[in-house]
């Protein structure tokens, strides 16, 4: 599953789960040490007093994009070995709306709710429990939702090909947009009343 280290045969696939656990621990540690286990930090994006979540995830996206393109250019990563999640447009829109409402209501995303639950936060534990109830209900009603789930199938499509530009140019534009957004977020944050938490 983890490419290109395992899929290229450098390491046995038996290490797959070990890598997953180690990466999960690292990710969880980074989330907790950045304060992401606090629902107030995530909800800050919604109310405009704390944009650190947006900044962190957007930074991760642009650094990974630039890094991957350089690694591919120099032959260190084979793009064809990377798994690209197929796009199902309708379910992506519906799922995005539900997840957005969940974010704004609960102040967590799935990963941060696990972090919060792990450090004993009651709101995190409740959110985590709710997530499982949601997963159960979705699984049980899948036959009713199946058509919607698979509709709008676009395959493993890339946004740059939809726009008709190269991945390199798209990444450059994405970096400019992200940096503009960071400065814009800092400006908004200055205008909004500070909240201590």
């Amino acid at each position: 599953m983890i490419g290109p280290i395992i899929s290229s045969g450098l390491v046995s696939p038996a290490w797959d789960n070990i890598f997953a656990v180690l990466l999960g621990i690292g990710f969880g540690f980074a989330l907790e040490s950045s304060g992401f286990s606090s629902s107030r930090k995530i909800i800050g994006t919604f109310f405009g007093y704390d944009f650190v979540v947006v900044k962190v995830f957007f930074t991760a996206a642009i650094v990974a994009s630039v890094g991957l393109l350089y690694l591919n250019y120099f032959g260190l990563v084979d793009f064809s070995q990377l798994y690209i999640q197929p796009t199902f447009l309708t379910s992506a829109i519906v799922g995005g709306i539900i997840m957005g409402i969940g974010f704004a209501m609960g102040g967590f995303c799935p990963g941060t709710s696990l972090c919060a639950a792990a450090v004993g936060r009651i709101d995190g534990i409740v959110f985590f429990g709710g997530m499982f109830i949601g997963v159960f209900l979705f699984s049980e009603s899948f036959s009713l939702l199946e058509n919607m789930f698979y509709s709008g199938s676009l395959g493993a499509i890339m946004i740059n090909s939809v726009l008709g530009i190269s991945p390199e140019l798209f990444t450059f534009l994405l970096v400019l947009v992200a940096l503009g957004m960071f400065y814009g977020a800092a400006w908004v944050q200055k205008k909004v009343k500070k909240i201590e938490y």
Binding site: I62, V66, S80, G155, M158, E168, F172, L174
Partner: protein, 207 residues
């Protein structure tokens, strides 16, 4: 603004702009001639019109139909969700990107097999995997699925099952109440079981 953020901003802009101005990479991946020869002699690249139809009706998300016929013919009639690609634009970056989807089975069809065979060879040579040819192209598909065939009274149950499936498929595509000319003894309710291929295992993501 803190100096470190200014430096990081400039660094990101320079690195991302560097990607745009880097000279184009020439090391195109091509299949080893021996592997290609072995693939040519394999018949597994062909899929039948029946199988393609079954996957279309089953709304199989892993199926990507590639119509290689001229654009005018494609506009007149094409299989559902097919993408029209002209063979001369086959090696354009956007077309290769569309075809280079590991999670999809790319099924090529033209009016016959001739163009599909050529395109299959070029794509396979370019290391694009999971490329198949609908055997006989649109002519075969029309003769198999749309054109009603007479039924032999001595037909086996397998043949009758296939015929029932084709009758159902014909109604799916042309929307008319065409009834089959099955022998009276064979006219029983048939359940056409469409087996949907599961989408490729999704890798986790998000926060």
């Amino acid at each position: 603004m803190e100096r470190k953020y200014t430096i990081l901003t400039i660094l990101l802009i320079v690195l991302s702009f560097g990607l745009v101005i880097l000279p184009e990479k020439k090391d195109q991946k091509e299949l080893n001639p021996e592997v290609l020869l072995s693939a040519i002699s394999e018949k597994s690249r062909y899929v039948s019109a029946d199988l393609v139809t079954e996957r279309i009706i089953g709304n199989d998300p892993t199926l990507q139909l590639i119509d290689l016929r001229p654009a005018e013919q494609f506009k007149l009639f094409a299989l559902p969700d097919a993408v029209n690609i002209q063979p001369e634009s086959l090696l354009s970056a956007t077309t290769l990107e569309l075809l280079n989807q590991p999670a999809k089975d790319k099924v090529l069809y033209a009016n016959s097999d001739l163009i599909s065979e050529k395109v299959w060879l070029i794509l396979t040579r370019n290391s694009i995997s999971q490329v198949y040819i609908m055997k006989g192209g649109m002519n075969e598909w029309f003769n198999t699925i749309i054109k009603e065939m007479p039924v032999n009274d001595a037909a086996s149950s397998t043949d009758l099952d296939l015929l029932s499936f084709r009758n159902a498929a014909r109604q799916f595509f042309v929307g008319t109440g065409v009834t089959s000319r099955l022998p009276a003894s064979a006219k029983k309710a048939e359940n056409v079981q469409v087996i949907r291929k599961a989408p490729a295992a999704a890798s986790g993501g998000g926060c």
